[in-house]
Symmetry: C2
Subunit: 487 residues, 2 copies
């Protein structure tokens, strides 16, 4: 992208980035970080406690724990800005930390430096029911927001399962079970408050912008959504809200083959049924759920469905979907109509990770996700299940199939590197197959440390070099979450 | 954003950008352009015909016509790439040209150079009905696409009114009457094929990516959507399609005051009615429509509505909306149920621009749009109408009010600069008021030449400098549509 003369000028900066580890230990000792960051916040908001360091170097994924040198707990965006100014001047790596529920090592600190924990950013700053939007600080979790909204007839539908912070969800472009109807974070963020590498604070969608749509300049909001902390630190987000539907009904239907379940989903979409959730679970996932969540379903490929809308609309959706299910050999629906039953059902779905882990004590779970055009799902699903079976690994397959998105959860022995290698290669093959089928190596988990090579395969080196040139333009010293997304 | 040493290195490039006009005439004569571009395409695909130059220097907006030196009509992306390589080497400005239906001067060539006309890019490359997506070349218009899709049960819902090319619609982040239900270009583009300033060709969403969602790297697709040709030339787009609804019904309802009409829209949204279109027209627009499109509506603030869905769902939506309209003093619905009547009605809506122009012969129309949170619409609408009345200008107000987006069309005498100044200042005041009310200076027309100062007001200088640093990273010699969005 850059002219050759510029490329020469920029090379020293690029080279120095690859030596950040060395710079860190050479120039900024932990004691200096403690002292200087303590001046910006207050001494008790900077920690080198081993528990803090250990907790902040990891997430819920299988990647190696890499601890930061210090953890800082700023109390407001101005303190975040001061921390970044200092770190930028001193070339200290900075890793933002929300709830630590990521899966691709985004919160890890392989080059040391400072973890910025946003746990104090828990204010819901504004809710405008008449405009269906709100502004929250980055540390607010989606569950806390929905708890706050519950009596206002409003909700925020993006549900990644774990009780993630909304700042983290913006960073990783999270989605979840409701995306088929309500979209992902990309469609539900109107504006972000971001602290840049040099400490400047911007609002990506206008200084106080919260218009439903805008054609004013580059869409920085959606550049920062999914940038995994590599372009700036998100301190607040303006989000779209939705009216709580008059009626919500959930159901379970089971099939003889995964193909029959997927064909059902394709037909539901072709019939333009505004389905709110449609989740696939393979027979092994059902076994794990029955054991862990005390459900009593048959060990068969299963769809978990949710219908939202008015009473009439929900009845009509159910009628259409029931008939499609029947045509594909599905069982009769098992219903969950009241709130308590619905909660139990979706709790079981959201507990699949823990249910899978519980199947083999002393193992760890390697979770990975891909997304393909829905017509390619049956082929990818069959290939993946066959590959898992062949490997002898215990693994479950679940997915937001309405989007063509699914996950495998593969158990490995954390003490045996060869065991990790086997599941890692399974994940790689699934991702490569997804790319081959016009899909993506990750629908919602992000690239982090784990999928850098796959990103390159998927996008090609020219496209990734465009991403890198944007990174370099916004963070010339590569202090922001270095080594994530690309090297 | 850049370190001070880098800033020094980059300054000469920045400075030279501001002298592009001089460089152009000094280094690359029109005859050289003709000769060199003729080698890349073939001689008949490069033109200096005065009609071609005049047609390519303007769009449908009121901005000054600035002609390119030559127009080139490449036949494929490889030729676009070669043209860009040449222009990048020689520092020649390049302005992409779709259908010329823009409104903010995006197609104008104030610094001369080459207009790249994509009229030969008319292939629909692929339609996947089972995945609800397609890939089209940039010159295909949305009407041509929908004509092609009509027998497949599918449609592409973004309708900016004019028969714009889909490449142009990507560039300006177009939307239109269906955005309230189906989203804008941002929500309906899955991937873009883009030729970069240096001639490299990338696919922003993966080499052959068409997953419904992705968390793989930066969201370049939505960076290029709305970038108005300043970051690359879009040569193809992969788009989401939607199932044609079983039933589509349109209706007109009229109110005593604009406030009553807007309150109705707010209540429709609060009741989570999945309305497909809800368009506001003020009484003056209705007068113009009656005269131009031979409709026979009362001269009153009016909503034009469309309901999509199954028979049952449409009936229920209508029942809810009719009751809300009645509560707000609306008249009974005037129906348009069959395709022909619906077409007439929406044709009238889409002809408002020409209807307005027809009211005062020998005038030109200054169209501008803003978007605000819907609760702020009544205040902005009232202020704008009062301002128009006070000025003595003839102007109509119409809008996609479900999104909080509306347009004014203001007539001026093209021979009288003072007359232009009056309407321009009216537009500026409306945009400033929209920004003050947490909105944006443009919901769908873009910044182009006309709203650069407003962008700065809306986003602040730090945010705009981030946009500029991205521009510089991707187009270091500022050859791509220079002087648009920012200086």
């Amino acid at each position: 992208m850059l002219s050759s003369s510029l490329r020469v000028a920029l090379r020293p900066a690029l080279l120095s980035n690859s030596c950040l580890g060395a710079l860190k230990t050479r120039h900024v000792s932990t004691s200096e970080l403690l002292r200087e960051l303590g001046k910006i916040t207050c001494d008790r908001d900077v920690s080198t406690n081993p528990n803090d360091l250990q907790q902040h170097g990891k997430d819920e994924g299988p990647h190696r724990v890499s601890e930061p040198q210090v953890v800082v707990f700023p109390q407001n965006k101005e303190q975040v800005a001061e921390v970044l100014k200092f770190c930028n001047r001193k070339r200290v790596p900075v890793v933002p930390f929300g709830s630590g529920s990521g899966l691709e090592g985004g919160a890890s600190a392989p080059t040391g430096g400072v973890a910025i924990d946003l746990r104090s950013f828990t204010k819901i700053l504004r809710v405008s029911p008449e405009d269906f939007d709100c502004t929250v600080e980055a540390g607010v979790t989606w569950r806390a927001l929905n708890f706050f909204l519950r009596d206002r007839g409003l909700w925020f539908p993006v549900d990644p399962g774990a009780d993630a912070s909304l700042g983290g969800m913006c960073s990783t472009s999270a989605s979840g079970t409701n995306a088929v109807r309500y979209g992902t974070m990309r469609e539900n963020v109107l504006n972000l408050e971001v602290v840049l590498a040099d400490g400047r604070i911007i609002n990506t969608g206008g200084i106080q912008g919260r218009a439903r749509k805008s054609a004013a300049g580059y869409n920085l909001t959606n550049l920062f959504v999914g940038s995994e902390g590599t372009l700036g630190i998100i301190t607040a987000a303006t989000l779209r809200l939705h009216a709580i539907p008059e009626k919500q009904v959930s159901a379970v239907v089971q099939f003889e083959t995964p193909r029959a379940a997927i064909d059902t989903v394709v037909e539901i979409l072709q019939n333009a049924v505004p389905i709110a959730r449609v989740e696939f679970m393979d027979e092994r996932t059902i076994q794990a759920c029955n054991a862990y969540s005390k459900t009593s379903l048959e060990d068969k490929p299963t769809l978990m469905l949710e219908f939202n809308g008015s009473q009439t609309s929900v009845s009509e959706q159910i009628e259409t979907v029931a008939s499609i299910c029947e045509d594909n050999g599905g069982t009769e629906f098992k219903w969950a109509e009241d709130q308590e039953e619905r909660n139990l059902l979706w709790k079981a779905r959201h507990s699949v990770f823990y249910a899978t882990c519980a199947q083999r004590p002393n193992t760890k779970c390697y979770v990975t996700d891909v997304c393909v055009p829905i017509s390619k799902l049956p082929e990818l699903l069959a290939a993946t299940k066959e590959d898992i079976d062949r490997s002898g690994v215990y693994g479950t397959v679940v997915g937001h199939v309405g989007d063509g998105n699914f996950h495998t959860m593969l158990l490995f022995d954390p003490k045996d590197p060869a065991s990790f290698q086997v599941v890692h290669e399974l994940g790689e093959r699934m991702a490569l197959k997804a790319i081959e089928l016009d899909g993506t190596c990750t629908g919602e988990h992000g690239v982090g440390l784990g999928k850098k090579e796959l990103l390159l395969k998927e996008h090609g080196s020219d496209c990734v070099s465009v991403m890198k040139s944007i990174k370099l333009a916004l963070d010339p010293h590569n202090i922001l979450n270095p080594t994530k997304i690309f090297d």
